[in-house]
């Protein structure tokens, strides 16, 4: 009797969260799928109607599409590589005994709290500007020609900015994991004559594996939908050189008002995210069982 009561109370307490999230997920998604089979242009409604898969075909045959998928993957993979490897190295460094460790931690973690538009604008204007940026000042100091980052290497520039934002996150989490490593184990390994490298490979790395998995999962979620950084720096250009999938969908929907095509792109983005999510969630689920 009592358990029955508790159980229905539990259901009642859970209902608002579950219902809200369910509605928030399903309603817009269904509308998107519906629009992806429609011709719909708010500016030119004459030809509106059901068009089957032609939006997908149009979106697919758009040269920007493959480019945007490629850019999305390039961004995710490069930033993951930089932040995970850099994060491990930085965590190992900061974990050493030193003076002012607390302040070092604070300095390193700071970029994570900078909102994306600020991060992008600061890098665009103060650091990478071909005329007045710090990089240009440095290049001139060494007698070199300043680089037009966003004109010549737009993807690289965006990768640098996004990696700068996420490196602190990876470092902080990996450092936390590192610091929970049992000191006695480390000492025992040292006594047994294990060098720094073998200690790292056989003791530290396995200990950090769970944290690394989590870092990859969380970052992937956010990196797949990088938007503000592109909006305020290159606006997807030059051409489509730095357009990722979210940005392409945004352009189609709110700039060109090709709602059908944008929705088809949105559905593709969902499928892509789900493929990634499938693997990521399994990894996390496994780790949380421990």
């Amino acid at each position: 009797m009592a358990t029955q009561q508790t159980r229905s109370l539990a259901r009642f307490m859970m209902a608002p969260s579950v219902v809200l999230l369910f509605v928030w997920m399903i309603v817009p998604l269904v509308i998107t799928i519906w629009f992806s089979f429609q011709q719909y242009n708010p500016l030119n409604p004459i030809r509106d109607g059901f068009v089957g898969f032609s939006n997908y075909a149009l979106f697919y045959s758009n040269p920007a599409f493959l480019q945007s998928i490629l850019n999305t993957l390039t961004l995710v993979i490069s930033v993951l590589l930089i932040t995970v490897i850099g994060g491990i190295l930085l965590a190992l460094l900061i974990d050493q005994p030193m003076w002012g460790q607390g302040i070092v931690r604070i300095l390193v973690i700071s970029p994570f709290f900078v909102m994306p538009p600020v991060a992008a604008l600061v890098w665009k204007n103060m650091i990478m500007h071909p005329q007045y940026g710090v990089f240009a000042d440095m290049a001139r100091f060494f007698g070199a020609q300043p680089i037009d980052w966003f004109g010549q290497h737009p993807m690289l520039a965006i990768i640098i900015i996004v990696a700068w934002q996420w490196l602190p996150f990876a470092t902080l989490i990996l450092l936390t994991a590192l610091q929970s490593l049992d000191g006695e184990q480390k000492e025992a390994a040292e006594m047994d004559g294990a060098g720094f490298i073998s200690r790292f490979i056989y003791l530290t790395l396995p200990h950090m594996s769970r944290a690394i998995t989590v870092v990859i999962l969380i970052q992937t979620i956010f990196l797949l939908s990088v938007y503000a950084e592109i909006l305020v720096t290159t606006n997807g250009g030059p051409g489509y050189a730095s357009t990722n999938l979210p940005f392409l969908v945004y352009q189609k929907a709110l700039l060109e008002f090709k709602i059908g095509q944008a929705s088809a792109g949105g559905v593709i983005a969902v499928i892509l995210a789900n493929i990634v999510a499938f693997f990521a969630m399994r990894a996390v689920g496994k780790n949380l069982d421990k």
Binding site: S17, P28, L93, W99, M115, P117, A120, L172, V267, L288
Partner: protein, 274 residues
């Protein structure tokens, strides 16, 4: 002998770590420095000693009405966080204290909703907001931010609540505490730290959210993310002003962030790393 080696090791580590840390922090530091320069100084090449003028700060307020955006940011991040807590606390509570076979599936499902790319639902949400008059309204955006962060809030509260030992509740009940007393005197004091941490992290996430806050607002409800983005097409070079605006936009959250490093790790890793 061994001691001198340790000191040397420590010295090298200190120097290396400080150099790397300062390099990483440099863009922020340089922004703060530039915000105290005049517009003339700001584009005159590299220098780390500003003339110390506050004119950019007063201009950002006078010309752009900075405080309206700041106020919106505070309202949206705090408001959406309180909304999320109101919805999430009961859910996390029941999952932590009376878990069923499906509890873990529900948690994973909630997390999976975070995987949905925002752009995929941009247009439907835009339509819904437009047709219900929620476009550029603080309430609409508050609900939006609440929904976005709800999975993380539920997860984080759940990991905190799970650590409250159930035996304490039983003991209180045996001592004859009523349900109400149990909640007020036993549970609340133990739950408050977890709730506070969750709140802190969620305010940071909501403050920095830069997709919906930019796309669903124009003037009335626009927070700092939208305000800063409006600087992306500058009419002329207003770098001191941009720096002042940026400094003001990140300062509150930066300071909050420094104090919440531990909670951040825990919250963003769903309790997997502590």
């Amino acid at each position: 002998m061994a001691r001198s080696v340790t000191t040397r090791h420590k010295t090298i580590a200190t120097i290396a770590a400080w150099i790397v840390a300062l390099l990483i922090f440099f863009p922020i530091l340089y922004t703060i420095i530039t915000s105290f320069k005049s517009e003339q100084e700001a584009i005159q090449g590299f220098s780390i000693i500003p003339s110390g003028t506050f004119e950019s700060y007063s201009e950002v307020q006078a010309q752009n009405g900075y405080f309206k955006f700041f106020f919106n940011s505070v309202l949206l991040s705090v408001g959406s966080t309180i909304l999320a807590l109101l919805v999430a606390i009961p859910a996390a509570w029941s999952m932590a204290f009376s878990p069923t076979k499906r509890t873990k599936d529900i948690l994973m499902w909630m997390l999976s909703t975070k995987m949905m790319p925002a752009v995929a639902v941009l247009f439907p949400i835009y339509l819904i907001f437009r047709d219900t008059g929620l476009l550029d309204s603080r309430i609409g955006l508050m609900v939006m931010l609440m929904l976005i962060n709800l999975p993380i809030v539920v997860w984080m509260l759940y990991t905190y609540f799970r650590e409250i030992p159930g035996e304490i509740l039983e003991a209180a009940r045996m001592d004859g505490a009523s349900l109400w007393n149990e909640i007020i005197y036993v549970l609340t004091p133990m739950a408050v730290p977890g709730i506070a941490s969750t709140m802190l992290l969620n305010i940071i996430l909501a403050w920095n959210e830069a997709f919906w806050t930019i796309r669903l607002t124009t003037t009335e409800a626009a927070p700092l993310t939208a305000f800063i983005s409006s600087f992306s097409s500058p009419q002329g070079l207003f770098w001191a002003k941009l720096s002042a605006a940026s400094t003001l936009a990140i300062a509150p959250i930066l300071i909050m962030g420094w104090f919440s490093q531990k909670q951040l790790v825990r919250g963003l890793t769903f309790g997997a790393v502590k």
